[in-house]
Symmetry: C2
Subunit: 139 residues, 2 copies
DNA sequence: CGGCATCCGAGTAGATACTG
DNA sequence: CAGTATCTACTCGGATGCCG
Protein backbone atom coordinates (compact mmCIF):
# COMPACT_ATOMS: atom_id res chain seq x y z
CA UNK A 1 0.00 0.00 0.00
CA UNK A 2 1.22 3.47 -0.64
CA UNK A 3 2.34 5.21 2.48
CA UNK A 4 0.96 8.43 3.80
CA UNK A 5 3.34 10.69 5.62
CA UNK A 6 2.40 12.83 8.58
CA UNK A 7 3.24 15.83 6.51
CA UNK A 8 0.67 14.84 3.93
CA UNK A 9 -1.90 14.32 6.64
CA UNK A 10 -1.24 17.82 7.86
CA UNK A 11 -1.71 19.21 4.40
CA UNK A 12 -5.04 17.44 4.16
CA UNK A 13 -6.11 18.85 7.51
CA UNK A 14 -5.21 22.34 6.36
CA UNK A 15 -7.23 22.00 3.20
CA UNK A 16 -10.14 20.76 5.24
CA UNK A 17 -9.87 23.68 7.59
CA UNK A 18 -10.04 26.00 4.64
CA UNK A 19 -13.06 24.17 3.29
CA UNK A 20 -14.92 23.97 6.54
CA UNK A 21 -14.05 27.55 7.31
CA UNK A 22 -16.49 29.09 4.91
CA UNK A 23 -19.16 26.44 4.72
CA UNK A 24 -20.03 25.59 8.31
CA UNK A 25 -21.56 22.19 7.90
CA UNK A 26 -23.29 22.49 11.23
CA UNK A 27 -25.91 24.93 10.08
CA UNK A 28 -28.78 24.18 7.77
CA UNK A 29 -27.54 26.61 5.15
CA UNK A 30 -26.54 25.51 1.69
CA UNK A 31 -23.64 23.11 1.67
CA UNK A 32 -21.87 22.42 -1.64
CA UNK A 33 -20.55 19.13 -0.41
CA UNK A 34 -23.95 17.76 0.40
CA UNK A 35 -25.55 19.25 -2.66
CA UNK A 36 -23.00 18.94 -5.44
CA UNK A 37 -21.56 15.69 -4.19
CA UNK A 38 -24.97 14.13 -3.75
CA UNK A 39 -25.57 13.97 -7.46
CA UNK A 40 -22.00 13.80 -8.53
CA UNK A 41 -21.33 10.84 -6.29
CA UNK A 42 -24.40 8.91 -7.27
CA UNK A 43 -23.57 5.44 -8.51
CA UNK A 44 -25.35 5.80 -11.85
CA UNK A 45 -24.23 9.36 -12.49
CA UNK A 46 -20.63 8.36 -12.03
CA UNK A 47 -20.91 5.67 -14.65
CA UNK A 48 -22.70 8.00 -17.05
CA UNK A 49 -19.99 10.61 -16.64
CA UNK A 50 -17.24 8.07 -17.17
CA UNK A 51 -18.73 6.71 -20.37
CA UNK A 52 -19.30 10.19 -21.72
CA UNK A 53 -15.66 10.89 -21.03
CA UNK A 54 -14.69 7.79 -22.92
CA UNK A 55 -17.03 8.22 -25.88
CA UNK A 56 -17.24 11.87 -26.87
CA UNK A 57 -20.88 11.57 -27.81
CA UNK A 58 -23.50 8.98 -26.96
CA UNK A 59 -27.16 8.38 -27.67
CA UNK A 60 -29.72 7.26 -25.13
CA UNK A 61 -29.86 3.56 -25.93
CA UNK A 62 -26.13 3.29 -26.42
CA UNK A 63 -25.60 4.80 -23.02
CA UNK A 64 -28.15 2.43 -21.57
CA UNK A 65 -26.19 -0.52 -22.92
CA UNK A 66 -22.93 0.66 -21.42
CA UNK A 67 -24.37 1.62 -18.07
CA UNK A 68 -25.36 -1.96 -17.52
CA UNK A 69 -28.47 -2.54 -15.43
CA UNK A 70 -29.88 0.96 -15.43
CA UNK A 71 -33.57 1.38 -16.23
CA UNK A 72 -35.08 3.82 -18.69
CA UNK A 73 -36.56 5.83 -15.91
CA UNK A 74 -33.42 6.25 -13.88
CA UNK A 75 -31.26 6.93 -16.89
CA UNK A 76 -33.48 9.71 -18.16
CA UNK A 77 -33.78 11.13 -14.65
CA UNK A 78 -30.03 11.22 -14.17
CA UNK A 79 -29.41 12.67 -17.59
CA UNK A 80 -31.87 15.44 -16.87
CA UNK A 81 -30.17 16.22 -13.56
CA UNK A 82 -26.70 16.15 -15.04
CA UNK A 83 -27.88 18.43 -17.84
CA UNK A 84 -29.54 20.75 -15.38
CA UNK A 85 -26.38 21.06 -13.33
CA UNK A 86 -24.40 21.83 -16.45
CA UNK A 87 -22.32 18.70 -16.78
CA UNK A 88 -23.65 17.64 -20.14
CA UNK A 89 -25.66 18.85 -23.10
CA UNK A 90 -28.59 17.20 -24.77
CA UNK A 91 -28.98 17.74 -28.48
CA UNK A 92 -32.10 16.61 -30.27
CA UNK A 93 -32.25 16.01 -34.00
CA UNK A 94 -35.88 15.90 -35.12
CA UNK A 95 -35.37 13.18 -37.67
CA UNK A 96 -37.43 10.04 -38.02
CA UNK A 97 -36.68 8.15 -35.98
CA UNK A 98 -35.64 10.83 -33.58
CA UNK A 99 -31.99 11.10 -32.57
CA UNK A 100 -30.70 12.54 -29.31
CA UNK A 101 -27.06 12.99 -28.46
CA UNK A 102 -25.46 13.54 -25.11
CA UNK A 103 -22.01 14.92 -24.52
CA UNK A 104 -20.03 16.46 -21.72
CA UNK A 105 -19.67 20.21 -21.41
CA UNK A 106 -16.35 21.73 -20.49
CA UNK A 107 -17.72 22.04 -17.00
CA UNK A 108 -18.49 18.34 -17.05
CA UNK A 109 -14.98 17.57 -18.22
CA UNK A 110 -13.56 19.68 -15.45
CA UNK A 111 -15.52 17.63 -12.96
CA UNK A 112 -14.73 14.35 -14.66
CA UNK A 113 -11.03 14.91 -14.27
CA UNK A 114 -11.40 15.05 -10.49
CA UNK A 115 -13.84 12.18 -10.43
CA UNK A 116 -11.51 10.07 -12.49
CA UNK A 117 -8.75 10.30 -9.92
CA UNK A 118 -11.10 8.85 -7.37
CA UNK A 119 -12.30 6.01 -9.56
CA UNK A 120 -8.72 5.22 -10.49
CA UNK A 121 -7.96 4.94 -6.83
CA UNK A 122 -11.00 2.71 -6.45
CA UNK A 123 -10.01 0.35 -9.23
CA UNK A 124 -6.45 0.03 -8.03
CA UNK A 125 -7.42 -0.49 -4.39
CA UNK A 126 -10.55 -2.54 -4.86
CA UNK A 127 -8.78 -5.77 -3.98
CA UNK A 128 -7.51 -4.29 -0.73
CA UNK A 129 -11.03 -3.35 0.23
CA UNK A 130 -12.21 -6.89 -0.45
CA UNK A 131 -9.36 -8.29 1.63
CA UNK A 132 -10.16 -5.91 4.47
CA UNK A 133 -13.78 -6.96 4.45
CA UNK A 134 -12.94 -10.62 4.67
CA UNK A 135 -10.52 -10.03 7.49
CA UNK A 136 -13.11 -7.99 9.33
CA UNK A 137 -15.77 -10.61 8.89
CA UNK A 138 -13.71 -13.44 10.32
CA UNK A 139 -12.33 -11.33 13.14
CA UNK B 1 -14.55 28.79 -15.41
CA UNK B 2 -11.33 26.93 -15.85
CA UNK B 3 -10.81 25.77 -19.41
CA UNK B 4 -10.29 22.21 -20.47
CA UNK B 5 -8.09 21.64 -23.47
CA UNK B 6 -8.65 18.95 -26.05
CA UNK B 7 -5.37 17.47 -25.00
CA UNK B 8 -6.59 17.06 -21.46
CA UNK B 9 -9.78 15.46 -22.71
CA UNK B 10 -7.70 12.97 -24.62
CA UNK B 11 -5.70 12.14 -21.55
CA UNK B 12 -8.90 11.49 -19.65
CA UNK B 13 -10.17 9.23 -22.42
CA UNK B 14 -6.92 7.27 -22.32
CA UNK B 15 -7.13 6.79 -18.59
CA UNK B 16 -10.70 5.62 -18.97
CA UNK B 17 -9.72 3.17 -21.65
CA UNK B 18 -7.16 1.73 -19.31
CA UNK B 19 -9.71 1.50 -16.52
CA UNK B 20 -12.46 0.00 -18.61
CA UNK B 21 -10.00 -2.35 -20.22
CA UNK B 22 -9.63 -4.66 -17.30
CA UNK B 23 -12.96 -4.25 -15.60
CA UNK B 24 -15.58 -4.73 -18.29
CA UNK B 25 -18.55 -2.99 -16.76
CA UNK B 26 -20.90 -4.78 -19.08
CA UNK B 27 -20.64 -8.11 -17.34
CA UNK B 28 -22.04 -8.94 -13.94
CA UNK B 29 -18.60 -9.62 -12.50
CA UNK B 30 -17.16 -7.59 -9.66
CA UNK B 31 -16.72 -3.94 -10.47
CA UNK B 32 -14.58 -1.82 -8.16
CA UNK B 33 -16.23 1.36 -9.29
CA UNK B 34 -19.69 0.19 -8.37
CA UNK B 35 -18.51 -1.45 -5.21
CA UNK B 36 -15.85 0.77 -3.74
CA UNK B 37 -17.39 3.97 -4.95
CA UNK B 38 -20.82 3.00 -3.67
CA UNK B 39 -19.74 3.31 -0.08
CA UNK B 40 -17.00 5.78 -0.56
CA UNK B 41 -19.25 8.16 -2.41
CA UNK B 42 -22.12 7.95 0.03
CA UNK B 43 -23.17 11.34 1.30
CA UNK B 44 -22.76 10.49 4.98
CA UNK B 45 -19.56 8.52 4.55
CA UNK B 46 -17.97 11.44 2.79
CA UNK B 47 -18.71 13.76 5.67
CA UNK B 48 -17.46 11.22 8.19
CA UNK B 49 -14.22 10.82 6.28
CA UNK B 50 -13.74 14.56 5.99
CA UNK B 51 -14.23 15.17 9.70
CA UNK B 52 -11.91 12.35 10.61
CA UNK B 53 -9.34 13.94 8.35
CA UNK B 54 -9.79 17.23 10.12
CA UNK B 55 -9.85 15.92 13.68
CA UNK B 56 -7.33 13.10 14.08
CA UNK B 57 -9.57 11.24 16.49
CA UNK B 58 -13.28 11.51 17.24
CA UNK B 59 -15.82 9.87 19.49
CA UNK B 60 -19.27 8.76 18.47
CA UNK B 61 -21.31 11.65 19.80
CA UNK B 62 -18.76 14.22 18.72
CA UNK B 63 -18.90 12.83 15.23
CA UNK B 64 -22.66 12.89 15.36
CA UNK B 65 -22.60 16.58 16.20
CA UNK B 66 -20.32 17.43 13.32
CA UNK B 67 -22.10 15.29 10.77
CA UNK B 68 -25.19 17.35 11.26
CA UNK B 69 -28.48 15.58 10.79
CA UNK B 70 -27.27 12.00 10.82
CA UNK B 71 -29.15 9.53 13.00
CA UNK B 72 -27.62 7.08 15.45
CA UNK B 73 -28.55 4.19 13.27
CA UNK B 74 -27.04 5.50 10.07
CA UNK B 75 -23.92 6.77 11.78
CA UNK B 76 -23.18 3.45 13.40
CA UNK B 77 -23.95 1.64 10.16
CA UNK B 78 -21.59 3.80 8.17
CA UNK B 79 -18.87 3.57 10.77
CA UNK B 80 -19.10 -0.19 10.69
CA UNK B 81 -18.86 -0.27 6.92
CA UNK B 82 -15.97 2.15 6.82
CA UNK B 83 -14.20 0.10 9.47
CA UNK B 84 -14.90 -3.10 7.61
CA UNK B 85 -13.46 -1.71 4.40
CA UNK B 86 -10.36 -0.60 6.24
CA UNK B 87 -10.76 3.15 6.14
CA UNK B 88 -10.89 3.66 9.88
CA UNK B 89 -10.24 1.96 13.17
CA UNK B 90 -12.52 1.70 16.13
CA UNK B 91 -10.88 1.62 19.53
CA UNK B 92 -12.90 0.86 22.62
CA UNK B 93 -11.79 1.80 26.11
CA UNK B 94 -13.77 -0.22 28.66
CA UNK B 95 -14.09 2.58 31.13
CA UNK B 96 -17.31 3.74 32.75
CA UNK B 97 -18.84 5.36 30.93
CA UNK B 98 -17.47 3.61 27.93
CA UNK B 99 -15.28 5.52 25.51
CA UNK B 100 -14.89 4.71 21.83
CA UNK B 101 -12.56 6.47 19.46
CA UNK B 102 -12.54 6.49 15.70
CA UNK B 103 -9.64 7.45 13.52
CA UNK B 104 -8.53 7.05 9.95
CA UNK B 105 -6.11 4.35 8.94
CA UNK B 106 -3.35 5.07 6.47
CA UNK B 107 -5.53 3.43 3.89
CA UNK B 108 -8.30 5.83 4.83
CA UNK B 109 -5.95 8.77 4.52
CA UNK B 110 -4.88 7.58 1.12
CA UNK B 111 -8.48 7.57 0.05
CA UNK B 112 -9.29 10.85 1.73
CA UNK B 113 -6.63 12.63 -0.27
CA UNK B 114 -8.37 11.73 -3.49
CA UNK B 115 -11.79 12.43 -2.08
CA UNK B 116 -10.67 15.81 -0.89
CA UNK B 117 -9.78 16.93 -4.38
CA UNK B 118 -13.30 16.19 -5.44
CA UNK B 119 -14.94 18.00 -2.55
CA UNK B 120 -12.66 20.96 -3.09
CA UNK B 121 -13.87 21.08 -6.65
CA UNK B 122 -17.43 20.84 -5.36
CA UNK B 123 -17.06 23.72 -2.93
CA UNK B 124 -15.39 25.97 -5.44
CA UNK B 125 -17.90 25.20 -8.20
CA UNK B 126 -21.05 24.93 -6.13
CA UNK B 127 -22.22 28.38 -7.17
CA UNK B 128 -21.82 27.51 -10.83
CA UNK B 129 -24.01 24.47 -10.36
CA UNK B 130 -26.69 26.59 -8.72
CA UNK B 131 -26.53 29.10 -11.55
CA UNK B 132 -26.77 26.34 -14.12
CA UNK B 133 -29.84 24.92 -12.43
CA UNK B 134 -31.62 28.25 -12.42
CA UNK B 135 -30.83 28.84 -16.05
CA UNK B 136 -32.08 25.38 -16.92
CA UNK B 137 -35.29 25.85 -15.02
CA UNK B 138 -36.24 29.08 -16.72
CA UNK B 139 -35.20 27.88 -20.15
C1' DC C 1 -21.63 6.98 26.59
C1' DG C 2 -22.19 4.33 22.62
C1' DG C 3 -24.66 1.97 20.58
C1' DC C 4 -28.49 -1.91 18.98
C1' DA C 5 -33.50 -3.46 18.15
C1' DT C 6 -37.63 -2.29 16.42
C1' DC C 7 -40.97 -0.09 13.87
C1' DC C 8 -42.75 2.89 10.50
C1' DG C 9 -43.11 6.19 6.58
C1' DA C 10 -41.32 8.16 2.41
C1' DG C 11 -39.03 7.97 -1.42
C1' DT C 12 -36.85 5.60 -5.05
C1' DA C 13 -35.67 1.96 -8.08
C1' DG C 14 -37.23 -1.47 -11.30
C1' DA C 15 -40.34 -3.69 -14.66
C1' DT C 16 -43.55 -3.18 -18.04
C1' DA C 17 -46.37 -1.08 -21.37
C1' DC C 18 -47.14 2.59 -24.19
C1' DT C 19 -46.37 6.96 -27.36
C1' DG C 20 -44.66 11.06 -30.41
C1' DC D 1 -35.50 5.97 -31.12
C1' DA D 2 -36.05 8.17 -26.95
C1' DG D 3 -38.25 8.54 -23.79
C1' DT D 4 -42.96 8.90 -20.44
C1' DA D 5 -46.55 6.73 -17.50
C1' DT D 6 -47.88 3.75 -14.12
C1' DC D 7 -47.58 0.59 -10.61
C1' DT D 8 -45.34 -2.24 -7.30
C1' DA D 9 -41.72 -3.50 -4.19
C1' DC D 10 -38.42 -2.54 -1.40
C1' DT D 11 -34.74 -0.22 0.55
C1' DC D 12 -33.38 3.28 3.41
C1' DG D 13 -33.66 6.81 6.69
C1' DG D 14 -35.65 8.75 10.95
C1' DA D 15 -37.57 8.29 15.58
C1' DT D 16 -37.90 5.99 19.70
C1' DG D 17 -36.77 3.08 23.56
C1' DC D 18 -33.64 0.22 25.85
C1' DC D 19 -29.27 -1.78 27.52
C1' DG D 20 -24.29 -2.80 28.78
Amino acid sequence: METVTDNQKLKVAKKLKKMFGHIDLKTETYCPIRDVMALASDKWSILIMLYLGYFPVLRFNKLKKYVYGISNKVLSERLKMLESDGYLTRTMYPEVPIRVEYQLTNFGHSYLRKLLELTEWATSHGDTVIKNRKKFKTA
